[in-house]
């Protein structure tokens, strides 16, 4: 492949790619992101290849292994173009049918379709499935239609046209102006306006500047940046190059955690391809602008998502934040102006340049423009990645797109913003998602994690879990974070174990104040959020744990007991046989009793007891009823009297 030397050559080249592609030729796209890979998409791909070979269809059908489609709950996913027939949870044994029926005979295979859980109707097309229908996938949508390892696929959907537009029609100031006007705010946590950050770097006197992609996604359960970098790496490179052009940088870095091997692989491939085509390197598209990108793999420390810690790590030192009161867009990497934005933020840039700030600002709220990708996980029916306009109601994300809570359980709260975000209760479900709205509710946007919690979740334990995560991830440099979190974790653990004392809440509040006011970086300053937000909305749970030694959600092991209701027990022996601790006393026709001394509270008996009996109960905050006397335990069954 020879270099493309000008925007017009690019358009010619693009036409050539499109001419070679027959829009009516069937194309099977198979989701091959990390999540679907885990659920077997690699095997499906192999059997697709084999089946097509076997049936001699090599020239009649294309296969495209794409990045993540988002509906990870139902993966691996196949979408057959141009009819957009959507099949879910594909196994290798489904492949022969797909080829012989759908590809050869244009017949839809009912059993592989999505079934609407309410209407029980089978749905053929992606765009009609509630999970997709209620989204607005501006940034994430291309993932499903391109092979991330193919630059031609990216060019076929208009890739690098924003870069060509910038070089042919726009000055660097104009690119910066458009991004400023779009009001794009950082998708990585802070929500700082990207344009203002860029402008600071552009205006800084130091001539050597850098642009950096923060792909150190570290929030538990969040993977939107991984999905973008794996599934559409050229979009990130294009955005980054536009940023470099706008601020006058000639070197860019992608800081990606090494736990994302597919993202690392795909971004390396993308860089090589972009260099070969002349979208990176010297004299890009004949513009005279030079820009190179270097990938740096991080060792997966959460604190390295913090901008100054990330830059310190890039410099080859231990990833600890800097104590200076100076912005990194002025004094950043190697002391030079450095614009750091996260993956999703960069991915928005080509859209803004292509379609204009006015187009972009029609989506979203007053303070938060555009869309946001959320990773919807936890107690939710449709686990996956969802992209919605800013301002969408939380309720719609969780119920319309997410399909609500599985197993008929009740919604309790949604934890947003990653470990240092907060929990939002049911009464605030009509909240519009946006940077300021979430902060006002005591949580934050963060990078877009959403963990749904149901009624069986203990909020004190949730808070303990996140504080434990942050304690583990604290770099340990400053006292309020290192020592404050150590003590907060101890107190919270004590509370969940029934060792809470009066005054614990006040002490936690005092430790929170010190962490917020005196910590060195954002990790410590926001670390008390999980505690503060659960205290704000679920104070009664803290009080029940401390004062009554009771866990209202019946979740904290040390505070619950399992008890078999003698009136309901049918002596069926199921729990008796399944108990791994041999803690169930009883026998055939003899009512079962839990030996509290032996019980490890694993919950096996509770799960095992048939719902028609529901004899096993969880109790908390009250004494376990004493077992009925031995002589009353025998059951005489009707018709079986001896």
């Amino acid at each position: 492949m020879s270099r493309i030397n000008s925007p017009s050559e690019l358009e010619e080249f693009r036409k050539g790619i499109l001419l070679k592609r027959d829009p009516n030729k069937p194309c099977i796209t198979l989701c091959s992101g990390s999540a679907c890979h885990a659920s077997g998409s690699g095997e499906v791909a192999a059997s697709l290849e084999a089946e097509i070979e076997k049936q001699g269809l090599r020239d009649k059908v294309d296969i495209r292994r794409t990045g993540c489609h988002g509906f990870c709950e139902r993966g691996p996913i196949i979408v057959i173009h141009p009819d957009e027939i959507c099949y879910f949870q594909i196994k290798p044994e489904d492949v022969p049918d797909i080829i012989s029926q759908t590809i050869m005979e244009k017949k839809v295979i009912e059993r592989l379709l999505y079934t609407d859980p309410v209407t029980k109707e089978k749905i053929i097309h992606e765009s009609e499935i509630p999970f997709y229908k209620n989204q607005k996938r501006l940034v994430f949508g291309s993932n499903g239609s391109i092979d991330p390892k193919s630059i031609d696929d990216y060019l076929a959907i208009g890739g690098y046209s924003a870069l060509a537009k910038a070089f042919s029609e726009m000055s660097a100031e104009a690119v910066l102006g458009e991004v400023k006007k779009s009001n794009l705010r950082g998708r990585g946590g802070g929500g700082f306006p990207a344009g203002r950050k860029w402008e600071g770097s552009r205006n800084a006197p130091e001539p050597i500047k850098y642009v950096i992609v923060n792909a150190d996604e570290g929030d538990p359960g969040a993977y939107m940046d991984r999905a973008l970098l794996e599934g559409n790496p050229h979009a990130i490179l294009e955005g980054l190059t536009l940023g470099a052009y706008a601020i006058g940088a000639h070197e860019g870095y992608i800081y990606v955690r090494q736990e994302y091997p597919l993202a690392v692989e795909n971004v390396h491939i993308a860089i090589r391809q972009a260099e070969a085509y002349g979208f990176l390197g010297k004299n890009i598209l004949g513009s005279g602008f030079d820009f190179k990108v270097i990938v740096h793999q991080g060792a997966g420390a959460f604190v390295c998502g913090e901008s100054t810690a990330l830059m310190t790590a890039l410099e080859g030192r231990a990833g600890e934040p800097r104590p200076k009161y100076v912005r990194s867009n002025i004094v950043g990497l190697w002391g030079r102006p450095s614009v750091l934005n996260n993956v999703e933020t960069w991915a928005n840039v080509p859209l803004i340049i292509n379609k204009g700030a006015d187009w972009f600002t029609q989506f979203g709220t007053e303070g938060s423009k555009g869309t946001k990708i959320f990773s919807l996980v936890g107690k939710i029916t449709n686990t996956g990645l969802v992209e919605v306009p800013m301002g969408t109601h939380l309720r719609d994300i969780i119920f319309k797109i997410g399909g609500g809570i599985p197993g008929g359980r009740k919604f309790k709260a949604v934890q947003t913003g990653g470990p240092s975000g907060g929990c939002i209760p049911e009464e605030l479900l009509d909240l519009e998602v946006g940077f300021d709205e979430l902060t006002k509710a005591g949580s934050m946007m963060g990078s877009g994690g959403m963990i749904v919690l149901d009624e069986d979740t203990c909020m004190v334990d949730v808070s303990r879990y996140f504080i434990e995560f942050l304690t583990d991830e604290s770099c340990g440099k400053c006292t309020p974070c290192r020592e404050g979190l150590r003590q907060m974790l101890k107190i919270l653990t004590n509370i969940t174990e029934g060792k809470g004392r009066e005054g614990d809440i006040e002490l936690l509040e005092a430790l929170s104040e010190t962490a917020i006011e005196a910590s060195l970086c954002a990790l410590g300053k926001s670390a008390p959020n999980p505690f503060l937000s659960t205290l704000r909305y679920f104070r009664n749970e803290y009080e029940a744990h401390i004062r009554e030694k009771r866990c209202p959600a019946l979740s904290c092991k040390e505070l619950i007991a399992y008890h078999i209701d003698p009136a309901k027990c049918q002596a069926c022996m199921i729990c008796f046989k399944k108990c791994p601790a041999e803690a169930i006393v009883g026998g055939k026709n003899k009512i079962h009793v839990v030996d509290q001394e032996k019980c490890t509270k694993c919950g096996t008996c509770f799960e095992a007891c048939p719902p028609r009996f529901s004899a096993v109960q969880k109790i908390s905050g009250e004494p376990v009823p004493s077992p009925i006397p031995e002589e009353e335990r025998m059951i005489t069954r009707k018709g079986k009297e001896k």
């Binding site: 104590p323 009161y325 006292t479 104040e513 910590s519």
Partner: protein, 199 residues
């Protein structure tokens, strides 16, 4: 370097551009408590004890004076109810590790810190990093460093360097605010290079 006028605790203080609030205060004889600060070393901003209140454009902020730069007309308050409350908490958190350290006890008295507020976990080290930074910045030896992170972080001598350099230096010993370092050093010496300890 141009001269900057700022106000600290109601006093007009002259400072040079590029100075920190802590340096400006010290030059005017105003005391701000510190644990990780050392005039020969780059500011670390780790202990956070030197936290003060500043007023910038009508907003009151809490900042750490050892790294916060002076600015024209900056108003600094080195004590306030909130500043004292936070310093007290920081001291109590550190006293859990080094309850008998003299420096901490003096400060605890000043701020009413209770060394029994938190369960004791006597590790002696309070992570001020003076030894680590002094060895790196002044002695250029890096014989002692931090290992691990967060609550598992601790200081550790690098045996290969320590066995060569430390015995004749020991300049970090008197810097340690809790005297943990000497114990650590002696321990390392005993474990790693016992032969040289006898000489």
């Amino acid at each position: 370097m141009s001269e900057i006028l700022l106000q600290i605790d109601g006093n007009e203080v002259k400072a040079k551009e590029g100075m920190t609030v802590l340096e400006a205060a010290q030059s005017a004889g105003i005391s701000i408590p510190t644990l990780c600060h050392h005039e020969k070393l780059e500011p670390f901003g780790g202990c956070r004890l030197c936290i003060v209140e500043v007023e910038v454009r009508g907003w009151t902020n809490l900042v750490v004076s050892c790294v916060y730069p002076v600015a024209k007309n900056l108003v600094v308050r080195t004590r306030s109810e909130k500043v004292d409350r936070i310093r007290k908490m920081i001291l109590e958190l550190l006293l859990a590790h080094a309850p008998d350290a003299f420096e901490l006890q003096v400060l605890a008295k000043e701020y009413g810190a209770d060394k029994n507020r938190f369960e004791k976990e006597a590790s002696f080290c309070i992570h001020c990093g003076l030894c680590v930074r002094y060895c790196a910045e002044v002695k250029k030896q890096n014989a002692v460093g931090f290992v691990d992170r967060g609550i598992r972080k601790e200081i550790s001598f690098i045996p290969e360097i320590a066995s060569r350099e430390c015995w004749n230096c020991k300049e970090c010993f008197p810097l340690c605010p809790t005297s943990y370092l000497q114990a650590a050093y002696v321990l390392t010496e005993a474990l790693v290079f016992p032969s040289s300890a006898k000489t």
